[in-house]
Amino acid sequence: MAVNQKKPSALKDLNLIRTMIRQHKRNDLIFAGLGMFVIASLTITLIILFLDLVLDGYPKFTLDFFSNFPSRRAARAGILSAWVGSSLVLIVTFIVAVPLGIAAGIYLEEYSKKGWLSDIIEINVSNLAGVPSIIYGLLALGLFVYSFGLGQSILTAGLTLALLMLPIVIVSTREAIRAIPVQIREAAYAVGATKWQVVLNHVVQYSYGGILTGVIIGMARAIGETAPLITIGALTFIAFLPPSPVTIDPPFINLDWLNAGFTVLPIQMFNWISRPQHAFHINAAATGAVIIILTVLMNGVAIKLRYNIRKKIKW
């Protein structure tokens, strides 16, 4: 019969198709394996990088390392001036970049009306995020160090890193604000709130976590930033501490530290890497371990925080 005659060839086709599908599925598996391999390699790289620093720097993990100044003798050298310098620089960075960045983010999301002005600001913000960090160093060298006469000081360094951090804070503020539905704003306006009341009582409060995430990530980046600070001429060998910001006599606050010379952790590390002697490389590794522990911790907190926000608030 006609039907039966056709059957064998149809079956043969089906078998061909099945072979083909098996082949295609094999490709799927191969690619999935490749993808997992790449991701595993990246993860392992991150782990090796961390272990390498920790193992190399292990002999230096003593209290002395944190309480000694750098020295010509590698065994006695420590990172006291570097971690104090990093902390003070970051205080300046934080005080400048955070309010400015949040204010700019609020303006761009809540106030700016479509037009040439907001376009120009938008373009500038996204452009600044892509400018290489060393260019900020050149800007600071020309502007802060020489034009403003601030010298190679903690203030200059803090301001430089603040410029670098600003786009990060602006972008995260905007993203956090954008997640707040328009209905919440309308509800606040509907009971008679003014624009600023809506911003202060609602927008800022509900985007707080997201902004904080951006601030932490920005600060973590500032801790590790090296090139711009070298460019402004930060000294690499500092065997003294800046004047203390807090005094025992009134007015209890002393701002002289802002004008002091300084070094920071990554510059100290760079300095030790550049020495030919192996003993200094151990110091560099230990400093690197400190930096990476700090940045990984901060980034980890930020990632966790963002995850919690996403889970907690469902509008």
């Binding site: 913000v125 600023w196 940045t295």
Partner: protein, 305 residues
Amino acid sequence: MSEPIISARLSKDFQRNIMERFIEFALLCSAAFAVFITSAIVYVLVSEAIPFFQHVSIYEFLTDTVWTPNYSIKHYGILPLISGTLTTTFIALLVAVPLGTITAIYLSEFASHKVRETVKPILELLVGVPTVVFGYFALMLVTPLLQKIYPDLTTFNMLGPGIVMGVMIVPYIASLAEDSMRAVPMAMREGAYAMGATRFQTSVRVITPAAISGIVAAYILAISRAVGETMIVAIAAGQQPNFTFNPVESAATITSYIVSVALGDLEHGGIGYQSIFAAGLTLLVMTLLLNILGHMTRKKFAERY
């Protein structure tokens, strides 16, 4: 029923309005600060580079193959710095483009929600690693490893830092490219699956072409990152300008030149001082062009979906 309110109460409350206006103005100033920074960058770089170009012709700057502004016999050709920058960038791309693209396709099309949620934070941690640490890694770990394979390799070379820089920019490419792929409408995937395509076929023949401009934008922005990267090359590639494209040689990039000059004694207003601004201006122009190109490509992609 509340008391009828007299219309005088309905007139504007001037004091409050002035406060509101003042706050808006203060916020505007904060936002406009971004414009100020950009202008300041351009102003500082150009104003310091002008005296440099009065001393050195643009022709010499762009064609001379020797760069020795701080030696007694001075040459001002940017080409050696550009060759170093391009070579390290190229090596980085050789590493980052395949790894980044594979990661993006895997995360967007293959990985389960749980895997994606685990891998993305790891990539973010990788982005957070300071470049000075990557530099240490290149000099102390990667180059010695490479020397085992290729014993003639010098301590300072472009290959090691190039590879490490590649690892550094994988997360950028992966996350930007993945965003573009996930922006491709689900209907397109369903269309492919409905015809019996497998995941791999759908990814390669449908999703990747559909997201191609977004993926290319990711590559361009990654190039910009690599061109501007400083510490890895400053630490591990040597800081001697060298007109070569050979990755096993040592060389300086635009960025590492700036670092090497800044580490020495800077005579404010001298030709050495001015030369780092000329180099910086060149770098800014290169990254700016790349960023504009990248953002335009990305925007074109975003408009499609």
